[in-house]
């Protein structure tokens, strides 16, 4: 009897843990593979002491690259290189995972009405929120355990040789941002009226943290800003090179404070409502609501605006620091080699911006993925049925969504070019407007490829849409980043979308290659559209 009472009173924790742990373990495996591949790449690419010293000399003090990838320490060692390669990248991935998991399992459950069922059981609103946090903690533990396990196994190799304690601390550093943003997501879930809003709020926090981290690492004398952002705390941990436990303290305090805040806010708040004032009524704004394209524009407006702000801010910052960063790169053969592997064959600010545009192309790829998954969500939620039972063909609906997504991506690319020019002009980098706008336009084809691939998968295997589009981007990023530092097979590199894109403005855009990507994307979208036309609508 006591056992069944306990089981009933912990059902939320167990249900949340089940979902979070599965996802955490999967991402932990990805984290581990990234660590292992970076270490092995270093061993195969920098075989001699001389090569390693040269790498360290060129990268160690380069503030421009630090702004992009984070600071480098002890690059003459496999440990230093591995930490440099994966820490910054996986911190972002972990943060995104954290905020999405938390908002999905807290606010998402509330939106779906399942939270009400849970609250009919032996718990209170505060109790359920606390249990959900425990469940999310299980997901974090799974992420940590799997990451640590693969890192320890990698470290046992005689050539890699990470100590067990070092490996575990490294894994801890890798999941640190995930912990913080799980808590941020849980907290914003109490503030917002919908899961989408909660994820957007948490996303804004992440964007601000990333911008602060970039400014702190850009070598303009604001190093202290690292203490102002959770992504900076991760860097300050300096795993594998100069481990320091102290920066874990602000992370732990913030997580505890946000968890406490989450539980506190869950108490007085009615289920289904928000802490921030939500206006349940509004005057009708029907200007856009004359068809499916207008509806899509209306629904996507908040996320497109958020991405637009993020891209514009990133472009401005990159443009602003392009001149000093370019000066640091000039004269370094080693950096030139690395940049050339990333596709940037120029010198100075152009070479630097070549890599910067690569990063912004990845962001634009995520915008494309977001457009595809939003369209798929319309179908999965059943809302699309309300339109398709009206005199509206599936082709018309899909065409509207695709054209709108294409417009968003093209405008995004051009905007990135324009804002980078604005930043560069304010920093007297002396780069022509046309060159940077062309570089912005050059980012669009990979995003269109992602869009086309997404429509193809959505038409043929709809439930795999999200995995497919984010998988294509993640794979391409991984291959491109590893390829930048290692002598990899061109067959492997060719599987990356971003490797197919010329690193403009470091080199001239390869419009032929861009055209092929657009053509493949268009063909994939056409086939996907045809399949969508002839298949049954599929729910979640």
């Amino acid at each position: 009897m006591a056992a069944s009472t306990f089981a009933a009173s912990t059902v939320v924790a167990r249900l949340t843990a089940k979902k979070a742990a599965r996802s955490g373990a999967l991402w932990g495996y990805f984290f581990g593979v990234c660590v292992a591949s970076s270490a092995l790449t270093y061993l195969s690419s920098y075989k001699t002491e001389a090569a390693r010293e040269k790498l360290a000399a060129n990268f160690g003090a380069n503030t421009a690259l630090a702004a992009l990838f984070g600071p480098a320490h002890e690059l003459q060692t496999v440990a230093g290189f591995t930490a440099y390669k994966v820490l910054g990248f996986l911190s972002i991935v972990g943060a995104v995972w954290g905020l999405l998991a938390a908002t999905r399992l807290l606010r998402g459950e509330e939106d779906a009405g399942r939270w009400e069922l849970v609250l009919c059981g032996q718990t209170t609103r505060r109790g359920a929120a606390a249990q959900a946090l425990l469940g999310l903690g299980s997901g974090l533990v799974a992420l940590f355990i799997v990451t640590a396990l693969v890192t320890v196994l990698t470290g046992r190799s005689s050539k890699v040789h990470f100590g067990i304690g070092e490996s575990v601390f490294f894994a801890l550093a890798l999941v640190c941002s995930a912990a913080v943003f799980l808590a941020v997501g849980a907290f914003t879930s109490q503030l917002a009226a919908t899961r989408r809003q909660a994820a957007a709020y948490a996303g804004y926090v992440l964007g601000a943290c990333y911008a602060l981290r970039m400014v702190a690492d850009s070598g303009i004398g604001l190093d202290g800003l690292r203490w102002a952002t959770p992504l900076g705390w991760v860097e300050l941990l300096q795993p594998l090179t100069g481990p320091d436990w102290v920066p874990l303290l602000p992370s732990a305090v913030l997580v505890a404070a946000l968890a406490l805040g989450t539980v506190q806010l869950a108490g007085p708040r009615d289920v289904g409502t928000s802490t921030f004032p939500d206006h349940p009524t509004a005057p009708a704004r029907t200007r856009l609501l004359n068809g499916p394209a207008g509806l899509a524009a209306r629904l996507m407006r908040p996320s497109v605006a958020a991405w637009g702000v993020a891209l514009a801010a990133t472009a401005l910052i990159f443009g602003r620091i392009a001149k000093p960063a370019g000066a640091a790169i000039s004269g370094s053969n080693s950096i030139g080699t690395v940049l050339s592997k990333l596709g940037a064959h120029g010198v100075g600010a152009r070479a630097y911006l070549g890599v910067a545009f690569l990063i912004m192309a990845i962001m634009l790829g995520f915008v494309a993925a977001n457009q595809v998954t939003a369209a798929r969500t319309e179908e999965a939620s059943g809302r699309l049925e309300h339109l398709l039972v009206l005199p509206l063909s599936r082709w018309s609906w899909l065409r509207g969504r695709v054209l709108e997504a294409v417009a968003v991506l093209v405008v995004g690319g051009l905007g990135v070019g324009a804002f980078t020019w604005l930043g560069a002009a304010s920093g007297h980098a002396g780069l022509p407007f046309e060159t940077l706008v062309n570089a912005g336009l050059n980012m669009v084809p990979p995003a269109l490829f992602v869009l086309g691939t997404g429509i193809f998968v959505s038409g043929t295997w709809p439930r795999a849409t999200s995995v497919a589009v984010y998988g294509v981007i993640s794979w391409s990023v991984l291959v491109t980043v590893i390829g930048g530092f290692a002598d990899n097979s061109h067959w492997l590199l060719d599987t990356s979308l971003f490797h197919q894109m010329a690193a403009a403005p470091a080199s001239a855009p390869n419009w032929a290659s861009d055209g092929i990507m657009v053509a493949i994307g268009a063909a994939a979208a056409t086939i996907g559209g045809f399949a969508f036309q002839h298949r049954d609508l599929v729910g979640e």
Partner: protein, 317 residues
């Protein structure tokens, strides 16, 4: 000019090894209000999705107003309006914005009627969808469908979540639709609603149409309940043609009579009957009769060509 609103021929839908709908032959005349009944998983929603072109048939075909549902969905949808049981609308839009959107895409809106419906259903259109209760979200879809004055209304559990007052209002709206000559296909679990509104009823079981006809026809196919109270000794009526389920309690006999009641009346007339009560089965009883017992191999199916009003025909394939 076609007099048939909906016609299916050997319509079949299979999901893997599961037959969701088997060989459905159905015909609904213009202006008819037809109830579509069946327990969960019987194939009602599958039929509706096939008619709407949201899913494609594994075999057979469906037509609405003579147009193929699979190859001419846009033309078909110009003539119909649909209300699903699950009102998953866009949470950030208000009720008014949702109605505006659905009306603009449909292209047919009787604005005056729309305003009237909003008032009759006591709907506040300025609220955001996420602030509506389930019943109010359902009202949005009902208003959107009814305001189009579509020739065919396809309603799949349309009153789920509505309170009894609103359900009464819904019934009035369907009566108005009938008077205007609109055709209605009403899939519902609320049997009293179907009984009150529908000219004919189709009953599905395990993906197959097992019965279709007017209430009179269906009652004719089913047993009549008879309670007889005698002044004296109770006669043995168990051997009388058509009589079954005989139960005796003191001087009261209760039984079921299938087919004509004449043989029973002849016996009762000579046995000192003090009181005789006969009652036709309600739709609920008819429904339960179909689903309360396992289907035998020789189970009678729908009549081949019942003399249904409106010239409708129901067959089991």
């Amino acid at each position: 000019m076609a007099t048939t609103a909906v016609r299916t021929e050997h319509l079949t839908k299979r999901y893997g090894a599961v037959d969701a709908l088997k060989d459905l032959n159905l015909e609904i005349a213009k202006g008819e209000v037809v109830g579509y009944l069946g327990p969960n998983g019987a194939g009602k929603t599958t039929t509706v999705r096939l008619l709407l072109g949201l899913a494609g048939p594994t075999a057979g075909r469906a037509e609405i107003f003579g147009m193929d549902c699979e190859s001419q969905p846009v033309e078909v949808h110009q003539r119909l309006a649909y209300v699903p049981g699950e009102a998953n609308l866009w949470p950030s839009l208000t009720g008014a914005e949702t109605l505006h959107l659905l009306g603009r895409v449909h292209g047919r809106v009787d604005t005056a009627y729309s305003d009237d419906l909003i008032m009759r259903f006591d709907l506040d259109p300025s609220k955001k969808v996420r602030a509506y209760s389930k019943g109010n979200r359902q009202k949005i879809l009902l208003v959107a469908a009814l305001m189009s004055r579509a020739d065919l209304l396809v309603l799949d559990e349309p009153t789920s979540g509505l309170d009894p007052l609103m359900e009464q209002e819904f019934r009035r709206c369907i009566d108005e639709a009938r008077e205007r000559g609109q055709t209605v296909l009403l899939s519902s679990h609320i049997l009293s609603e179907v009984e009150a509104l529908c000219d004919r009823v189709a009953i599905l079981r395990e993906g197959m149409l097992v019965e279709m006809g007017t209430m009179v026809e269906l009652r004719h196919l089913s047993a009549l309940s008879v309670d007889a109270t005698f002044d004296g000794p109770v006669p043995d009526i168990s051997g009388i043609e058509g009589v079954s389920a005989v139960e005796t309690s003191g001087r009261v006999v209760r039984c079921q009579v299938r087919g004509t009641i004449e043989p029973l009346l002849r016996v009762l007339a000579t046995s000192g009957v003090h009181q005789l009560i006969s009652r036709e089965p309600s739709l609920e009883e008819l429904f339960l009769e179909h689903y309360g017992r396992p289907k035998g191999p020789d189970e009678p199916t729908a009549p081949d060509e019942p003399a249904a009003p409106g010239g409708a025909v129901a067959k089991v394939g």
